[in-house]
């Protein structure tokens, strides 16, 4: 696990945040901050609102109330210009990779750079290849996404997410659909990237092995009212978190007696 609090700079701040659809809150009372360089996990059971919270953080869903500051930009009261600024500060890996099927892996990684127009073609190719090498995919750069396995597509999507040098990288359910070995390799890659690049990673997952491998800190969502149940390191929460959170992290349903904290 990474050491906590790599920097005092806060890159994400949520305060009394409510998020939902068409003005109807799905999650309320969200309060947390994420420091620069942290690997922060948003966890909780299925249907607890993890993806809704992430959608709000990556500007796909306008927050309803409270404060949501991403890389210094306040999204609740900010307009379209703020949304654009946030989009230039983040990179996102979607659950299925969401690579563009008509482009090669290299072209996928190069795409945002092309639109930005800051680099020459050879510079972009060089940068994209370096990013693909970081995720062990440089040898597959000229393949179409359909020729890659699910895990490789996700790694390519991480390379694409890093392409515009974002402050924060969001990963949506990275372990979904991966076998245990690929999932563990992916977790190791996330830790390696976080350590080597110093970027902040926000990971939405309910996979316990991933949580305990990658998370510096985590927020657990859930409860009848769908809110924030607890925040802390996974170890802290497993040992001394609220009962629901300990049950979640110990993988113990309600009709089983909660055992003592496991490490």
């Amino acid at each position: 696990m990474l050491s906590t609090a790599r920097s005092t700079e806060t890159v994400i701040e949520a305060k009394d945040l409510s998020v939902g659809y068409e003005g109807i809150p799905v999650l309320t009372g969200i309060n947390f901050t994420v420091a620069s360089g942290e690997v922060f996990v948003i966890g909780g059971g299925s249907g607890c609102g993890k993806s809704t919270l992430m959608k709000a953080m990556i500007t796909l869903l306008p927050p309803i109330d409270g404060t949501l500051r991403i890389a210094g930009h306040e999204l609740v009261t900010g307009g379209e210009a703020v949304v654009e600024s946030v989009r230039h500060s983040i990179g996102v890996m979607y659950q299925g990779g969401a690579l563009f099927g008509g482009l090669t892996v290299l072209e996928n990684v190069r795409l945002a750079m092309e639109e930005n127009g800051l680099y020459t073609m050879s510079e972009m190719n060089s940068l994209a290849l370096s990013l693909l090498a970081m995720v062990d995919l440089d040898e597959h750069c000229n393949k179409m996404p359909s020729a890659l396995s699910g895990g490789m597509q996700k790694r390519a999507a991480v390379a694409r997410a890093l392409a515009m040098n974002p402050k924060i990288v969001f990963l949506d359910e990275p372990s979904a659909g991966l076998d245990p070995i690929s999932s563990a390799e992916f977790d190791q890659m996330v830790v390696r990237l976080a350590r080597s690049t110093g970027r902040t990673f926000v990971v939405v997952t309910h996979e316990l092995p991933s949580i305990f491998t990658i998370a510096d800190r985590m927020v657990v969502l859930g409860g009848e009212n769908k809110t924030q149940l607890a925040i802390g390191t996974p170890k802290e929460l497993l040992e001394s978190g609220p009962t629901d959170v300990r049950r979640f992290l110990a993988r113990q349903p309600e009709d089983q007696t909660l055992q003592g904290a496991a490490s």
Binding site: E84, V92, M164
Partner: protein
């Protein structure tokens, strides 16, 4: 199995014995559930201690008895079940009785809501096509911003690939019209006017219309399916969060491609339609040269440009509708199919309505 019931102490006892298998369950269901219902909010004891076997449907029957008593406010005790069976039966009761769906709409409100929704859809579609047209003008002014690869790919698909089927259909339509029209014209001794009418009808009207219908079926549906699939697989979201405008990135190359190819395709389709109309005339001995001369003399540049202009307008509208349908794709297994169907139906309805509007407009303007 022998259901037994006692009500002397105010407690209904249902004693079960033997095998509660599928056949017995079917026979006993109405009777046992009816007795549980008759107990109202009283107490019911189900004694299963003498049951030898219980099938899956038997457990469902026990669950139904339990549910009936609990939801009526009564008390129930189940004896003789294993712990796992008792747990399963207890879980099957659920938390609360289902509430009946209350239909709070009337026929009038349904019609009103549908009309309002359709008007909203229409306004949104017009806005989307307007924005697509503005993006088109912007792209023409800034060619470097265009996705040339997409543009050329769609031009190939909507132009070259569509050419054979469009020309074939237009030729057949031309043949049918000429063939059907000749007997009527014969009555007035005006069969030799067929080339004149054909030139007018095909070049101003049917050439662009047939091209547009093929376009709606091939390209409109393809745009909706492609973009709809991208929506489902979150590729559209990926574009958005990368700071790329999905409408400009996905819509502009597609609409521009069909806006370029459709007028050209319409010219070929019109020519094929005119040639198709010659076949019945050829059977009467008219040479192709004379036929084409007659067609040529019946139309002028304005007629030709009218047809080309119509094809251009149809292309922008069909391309816009197809792309919008794709971007509006919802979630679920049938979502992309629904978007594709909507794109084709809305596209064909739109071009026929629009054709009527353009005919009226040209007539009013005297062209």
């Amino acid at each position: 199995m022998s259901p037994d019931m006692e009500s002397t102490t105010g407690t209904t006892v249902i004693a079960l014995e033997g095998a509660l298998d599928d056949g017995r369950v079917r026979d006993a269901w109405e009777d046992l559930v009816g007795r549980a219902r008759a107990a109202g909010s009283g107490s019911v004891v189900v004694d299963a201690s003498k049951l030898q076997t219980v099938s899956g449907s038997g457990l469902l029957l026990l669950a139904e008895i339990r549910r009936t008593v609990v939801w009526a406010g009564g008390k129930i005790e189940m004896r003789g079940l294993t712990a796992d069976q008792a747990s399963l039966v207890e879980r099957a009761v659920g938390h609360k009785p289902p509430t009946a769906r209350v239909k709070d709409s009337t026929f009038v409100s349904d019609v009103g809501e549908t009309a309002f929704r359709l008007l909203h859809e229409l306004a949104d579609t017009v806005r989307f096509i307007g924005e697509a047209a503005i993006d088109l003008v912007h792209a023409i002014g800034h060619p470097r911003s265009l996705r040339w690869r997409d543009l050329l790919r769609v031009m190939g698909q909507s132009g070259i690939d569509s050419m054979p089927v469009t020309c074939m259909l237009s030729g057949i339509v031309g043949f049918i019209i000429a063939y059907q029209m000749m007997p009527a014209l014969d009555r007035y001794g005006a069969a030799d006017q067929t080339p004149t009418i054909m030139g007018f009808a095909i070049i101003r009207e049917l050439g662009p219309l047939v091209t547009a219908i093929i376009l709606a079926g091939r390209s409109g549906s393809a745009f909706a399916a492609e973009i709809g699939t991208m929506k489902v697989t979150e590729e559209v979201n990926a574009l958005t969060t990368m700071g790329l405008n999905p409408e400009r990135y996905l819509v502009t190359p597609r609409v521009l491609a069909v806006a370029i190819t459709t007028p050209l395709l319409s010219v070929f389709a019109s020519f094929a339609g005119v040639l198709g109309g010659w076949l019945p005339m050829a059977a009467r001995g008219m040479s192709l040269e004379l036929y084409l001369q007659n067609v040529r003399s019946s139309i002028d540049q304005v007629d030709f440009l009218q047809g080309v202009f119509k094809a251009f307008v149809f292309a922008v509208v069909i391309g816009g509708i197809g792309c919008r349908s794709g971007l509006k794709t919802q979630v679920g297994p049938g979502a992309v199919g629904a978007s594709t169907t909507r794109a084709v139906v809305a596209g064909i309805v739109a071009i026929i309505v629009l054709d009527g509007v353009l005919v009226g407009l040209f007539h009013t303007l005297g062209i």
